[in-house]
Amino acid sequence: MTNFLLIDTSTSRTSVAISDGSKSLFEKHHDGALSHGEVLPKLISEALAVENKIDQVIVGMGPGPFTGLRSGIAFAMSFAFARGIPWSGVCSLDAIAADVTSQDFFVAVDARRKEVFYARYTDGKRIGEPGVCQPAQLIPNQIPIHGEAHNEYPNPINFVEIFKNSVSYCEPIYVRRPDAYPAPVGVKFRALTQLDLVPAFAIEKAAYGKDGWTMAQLKEEYGGKDRMYVAGEFGGELIAYAGVVNLAGIADVLTLTVAESHRRKGIGRELLRRLIDWARTQKCDAIMLEVRVGNEEAIPLYESFGFIEISRRKDYYGPGKTAIVMRKELK
């Protein structure tokens, strides 16, 4: 008999089971754990009290929120190493799907940031690798959605069958990249000068159309002791600019714009960091900014710097165009 220790920490549920390959010897879970790392060892020691002879560990590799997910995997790897036994990883979504009888369905679990990790299953098989999307994007397919929203969680007892019948994973199924992009190679950062205003206006117009600043506004907003502008230059050409103003101890981001052809290179991140650094040298209590609702590139960037939404302004960018106001404390 091979005894399997089965662990899943990919959702808000922390689950532990032991199976001898044909029947369950132990099953227990804990819901809504703030810290999987705290709950998991307790469940494991209960499990070991029931059956201490373990021959193999199988752990759910996600997808799921990263910190919780890693705590299960880190535990499984070192437990197996210390016992001198093998471990393997399986897709956690498969362990929800295994309990579903429909022909064609989605499995979806909470991915934070108003998104879900999902996979599609037809005739009992997963179609492709798991992905991440907004829940609303799954609805038009008009097939059932199973998962966390309906209190369906990965059942680790299913791991044994999944392990026997599908490829195993040796790395967490992250789906999302970390909130950091490759370095802005070859980009030079310096102060924005008067000479940059013409190219800056060209970038502004391309980026925001008629919602952006006019040349006159740009000239008016530029300059002044209470503010700071920084420029990003590539091959001698202006490709990005950002500005911040100190309004009575609260810094306000005036603009942060990267030319379309140079986005997703970490330039926005670098500009924002310089604005925050400046706000700190001004001893500002906080730094605020506005961002368009639905700007899925900028919002995660701001969140990764610790900005949080504090309010919304209707029609801020013109009729029907709402702004999210975000704030980061500096004190």
Binding site: S35, H36, G37, E38, V39, L40, P41, K42, I44, S45, L48, F66, T67, R70, S71, G72, I73, A74, F75, A76, M77, S78, F79, A80, F81, A82, R83, E171, P172, Y174, P178, D179, A180, P182, A183, G266, R269, E270, R273, D277, R280, T281
Partner: protein, 345 residues
């Protein structure tokens, strides 16, 4: 649970170093570090999610290498220790979960330890000097404090700490201003070797008579940072290595003035300097000079044990074992902001 030999394996993952150390009592057996620092250098700072991913990837290999270096099997370990805080929560959890897996698999005790206490406890290794009482200057990327160590595993008091930036943070920021790269400490240390430490008289934070009333042992580095940035702005033809050297001098000077002051005032004649910034060559040199002049016994761990490492975690774990302290509860919770008043969880 037998602790006959006191062989302790310590795991550290609070920031960007995945590190495992093994000690036997106060003897260092292994110290293995895998760093993701080059991956963060591109961003000018540690990116938490990148660090956490790197910890999980590196952990099995680092544990195996440490055991190989010590010539031991995992079954020879009597107890485990792990940094439970302070640090990046996602990073800490990889360490605490790995440690829990090892301890539960082998039914051995696990000690969750405070990272800052561990930095000081590393001083216990490879020597049999009396450990306490001592004044400790703990200086790193996240912390700058002066501590009174009555008992490393149970009684550490904070006499003063930074009211704004940590010393190591100031090094990173100034290095960025000087375009010296990340991490800033080693970069400035090297650049400063060609500079004149007396070239520019940068301010020493919280050293005026009026500051000493409420902030006798506290530090402030934000004024220094502003002064350097103003100096650079109004001196376009500055000599960079002079700026590095003068900045470094200001930091080292104020750290030592206050630390030696604390030792003298308290009558505790031992000063330990620990943490990543203790690897700074100018601080080490000045510390020797001034401690000798003040009649204070100075102890600074070897460079490799100053920056984050697993040996320091194992070291404080071994002290806890030797004192017969109870291990942490099963399912100990990582605490990103845990204070030094709680050396063992």
């Amino acid at each position: 649970m037998k602790n006959s030999q006191g062989i302790v394996l310590g795991i550290e993952t609070s920031c960007d170093e995945t590190a495992v150390g093994i000690v036997s009592g106060r003897k260092l057996l292994a110290n293995i570090i895998s760093s993701s620092v080059t991956e963060h250098a591109r961003f000018g700072g540690v990116v938490p999610e990148i660090a956490s991913r790197a910890h999980l990837e590196a952990m099995p290999g680092v544990i195996k290498s440490a055991l190989d270096e010590a010539g031991l099997s995992i079954k020879d370990i009597d107890a485990f220790a792990v940094t439970a805080g302070p640090g990046l929560i996602g990073a800490l959890v990889v360490g605490t979960s790995s440690a829990a897996g090892l301890a539960l698999a082998l039914d051995k005790p696990l000690y969750g330890v405070n990272h800052l206490s561990a930095h000081i406890a590393v001083d216990s290794l490879n020597s049999d000097h009396k450990l306490e009482p001592a004044i400790a200057l703990l200086v790193s990327g996240g912390h700058s404090s002066i501590l009174q160590v009555n008992d490393l595993t149970s009684d550490v008091k904070t006499l003063g700490s930074t009211i704004d930036d940590a010393a190591g943070e100031a090094f990173d920021k100034i290095a960025r201003l000087l375009e010296l790269g990340f991490p800033g400490g080693p970069a400035i240390d090297i650049d400063a070797k060609n500079g004149n430490p007396d070239a520019i008289d940068f301010p020493r934070g919280l050293t005026l008579a009026k500051d000493l009333v409420g902030h006798k042992y506290d530090f402030s580095f934000s004024g220094l940072k502003t002064a350097v940035s103003r100096y650079l702005a109004k001196t376009p033809d500055h000599i960079r290595s002079d700026v590095s050297a003068s900045f470094q001098e200001a930091v080292a000077d104020v750290l030592l003035r206050k630390a030696i002051g604390a030792a003298t005032d308290s009558g505790i004649d031992t000063l330990i300097i620990a943490g990543g910034v203790a690897a700074n060559s100018r601080l080490r040199f000045l510390a020797q000079e001034r401690a000798a002049a003040a009649g204070i016994r100075l102890r600074i761990p070897p460079m490799a044990l100053c920056t984050d490492n697993g040996a320091m975690v194992a070291a404080i774990g071994a002290l806890a074992v030797a004192k017969g302290l109870a291990p942490s509860e099963i399912g100990l919770q990582a605490d990103s902001s845990s204070g030094i008043s709680r050396p063992i969880f």
